[in-house]
């Protein structure tokens, strides 16, 4: 019997493995299973590339759309699923090899991480809007619990705050879905897209705003992202890596997927979303200037990059979209790298305040070096992949002679340089407390193995970005191609 691979595996496999957790505990296989699950999913995603290149794959569950639920695996969904499983593999490998943070290597964390990955994959794949809500909640619940998993004061505070804000956001999204259903009687996203333009304008606006605020909170857009720094500061850096690398990307995708699908003319929302992205970027970068805690700084930097990606995606032209997707990928790599470095630094230093990490390069040269690499990539300096993606975005804007985003992006990058280089300088400055330095243990190369993989990827993609170019172009077309999607799902001309 040959195994029949279907997209549902991306959701089913992690769920199944999570439910079998007692078994893995008994066999002491928790971490190997977690890691190999991600690797297997990544391999599965790669094996789909040739098929998806020809046509998107529809996986119907029980009844064909628009009545039943279906999963939709096109180039963009495949790209994100591959990205999530790759990031997941890196993070779990790190947790596995790392000798600190025992609470992350136990059963609750195991289950929650798998749920988070399954939910994110589901959000990307599903073609049904209520199903989307269910996945959003699965991701949400596991994210709240993961934020608090350390079970001390700060972690619980972060978890509680996240839960309050997150569930209100979910109510907004649910409200929008309910209104959509009441207006159209449809839950399939493609069918909704056809019916959406027939709704009264007021209702369209109400639904749009509800969605925007719900997803805006989740996707960390200004002015709905005030929760981010606190949560990122309180949770474990390994978990924040998941948030910044996987979760936010999934929500950004949902936001833009819905925008491009539901609105027959995406230019209606263009100015709104571009303005939101630009404000998010500038505000976050400015505020980050004054941050004296590494994790808070990284949180704001993450917000800034989300703003940049939003700005570029909202422009809804193929060149900027492909660039923005590339930047999304790069940002996942970079933030995973930087947050995991923060985790390693936390093992050695009680606090990650700017004044406390002076001279870090003496005790942790590899960590400092990788931080520099990550910072250069996030700033978009060559020859790292961050440069290519930023260049791609800027080139996309220049193609159509729209220069204000170019100016804003460059200004934001300059402000960003202002704080990243402050930290780099601190790492390479003379240590403030030489006595405690001597006591610290050296670095274990094994801990760094996953990080070195990311560093390698950043360099390779910076020198040879054409490796991903076709895929990104197709993904951009899939994200923007409303007609193609409606055709594929409903089989009719919209």
């Amino acid at each position: 019997m040959t195994l029949h691979f279907t997209p549902v595996w991306f959701i089913a496999v992690p769920l199944l493995l999570a439910f079998l957790a007692p078994l893995w505990v008994r066999w002491r296989l928790l971490m190997p299973v977690l890691f190999s699950a991600q690797v297997a999913l990544f391999a599965l995603a790669l094996s789909w590339i040739p098929a998806v290149r020809i046509a998107p794959i529809l996986e119907t569950i029980v009844i064909a759309p628009p009545l039943g639920i279906h999963l939709h695996l096109d180039a963009i969904a495949l790209l994100l699923v591959a990205l999530f499983s790759f990031a997941g593999a890196i993070i779990t490998a790190f947790i596995w090899l790392d000798n600190g943070a025992a609470h992350l290597r136990e059963r609750p964390a195991f289950i929650l991480i798998l749920l988070l990955i399954a939910g994110s994959n589901g959000m990307v794949l599903t073609g049904d809007i209520f199903n989307l809500y269910v996945f959003i909640e699965i991701v949400g619940v596991s994210a709240y619990a993961l934020a608090a998993i350390r079970r001390d004061k700060t972690a619980l505070e972060a978890g509680l705050k996240y839960l309050i804000v997150g569930s209100v956001a979910a109510i907004f999204i649910l409200f929008a879905i309910v209104l959509l259903y009441l207006q159209t009687g449809q839950l399939n996203i493609a069918a909704l897209a056809q019916a959406f333009s027939n709704m009264p304008a007021q209702m369209q606006l109400l639904i749009g705003l509800l969605m925007l605020i719900g997803l805006g909170i989740k996707a960390e857009l200004f002015p709905f992202n005030f929760w981010v720094p606190d949560i990122y500061r309180g949770s474990d850096p390994e978990i924040t890596a998941l948030y910044s690398g996987v979760l936010v990307k999934a929500f950004l995708f949902v936001l833009f997927h819905l925008t491009f699908i539901l609105l027959a003319d995406p230019t209606v929302a263009r100015n709104w979303l571009m303005a939101l992205g630009a404000i998010t970027m500038i505000v976050a970068e400015l505020v980050a200037l004054r941050q004296n805690d590494l994790r808070r700084m990284l949180a704001y930097s993450s917000l800034g990059q989300v703003g940049l990606i939003t700005l570029a995606l909202a422009f809804a032209s193929e060149a900027t979209t492909a660039g923005a997707l590339f930047h999304m990928i790069n940002h996942t790599f970079i933030k995973v790298l930087l947050f995991l470095l923060a985790a390693l630094m936390l093992r050695q230093y009680a606090s990650l305040k700017l004044t406390d990490v002076h001279g870090l390069s003496r005790t942790m040269p590899l960590a400092a070096g990788l931080f520099v690499l990550g910072a250069l990539a996030v700033l978009g300096l060559p020859p790292l992949s961050g440069f290519i993606s930023k260049l791609w975005i800027l080139k996309g804007f220049s193609d159509v002679q729209t220069f204000w985003p170019v100016a804003l992006i460059l200004t934001a990058a300059l402000i960003e340089a202002g704080y990243y280089f402050r930290w780099i300088r601190a790492f390479y400055a003379a240590p403030t407390d030489a006595a405690s330095m001597a006591k610290m243990e050296g670095e274990k190369v094994l801990n760094y193995a996953p990080l070195l993989v990311i560093a390698g990827v950043l360099i390779v993609l910076g020198v040879a970005p054409f490796l991903l170019e076709d895929w990104l172009q197709q993904a951009a077309q899939a994200l923007l191609g409303r007609e193609a999607l409606l055709n594929a799902v409903l089989g009719v001309q919209p």
Partner: protein
């Protein structure tokens, strides 16, 4: 008197009453969410808001006179039944809501045990 009652049976009127009621409920929840400091009260408010949304869905998707969408008790055809989807959705959403609230409550209890605090306003550990 009877006319008035019949008026209430008209779907449009009934729906608006439900809608107004649910929205009032929603705003009560919103008020509690924004004004109350106690963690558990905030969770209750969130639940009220969720309930309001469920109510809107159920209330507007059904009209008086429809039967439950179950083929039993001699019913053999899908006529005069209410739309089953909203009910399925609501059930699912309730389950999710319960899970979130349970998680929140357990975290709040644990937080209280560790710090003795119950108010959101006092949660300032993360500020530096």
């Amino acid at each position: 008197m009877l006319e008035v009652l019949e008026l209430f049976d008209r779907p449009a009127v009934l729906h608006s009453i439900y809608l107004i009621g649910s929205l009032i409920l929603f705003f009560i929840g919103l008020y509690g969410l924004l004004a109350k400091r106690h963690l558990l009260k905030i969770f209750v408010s969130i639940e009220i808001m969720e309930l309001a949304v469920y109510l809107i869905l159920i209330a507007i998707a059904t009209t008086p006179g429809e039967t439950a969408p179950i083929l039993s008790d001699g019913l053999t055809a899908f006529t005069g039944m209410s739309d089953p989807i909203p009910q399925a959705l609501t059930l699912t959403a309730i389950v999710i809501g319960v899970a979130v609230t349970a998680l929140g409550t357990s975290m709040a209890i644990q937080y209280h045990r560790l710090t003795g605090k119950v108010s959101v306003g006092e949660m300032t550990e993360l500020k530096d």
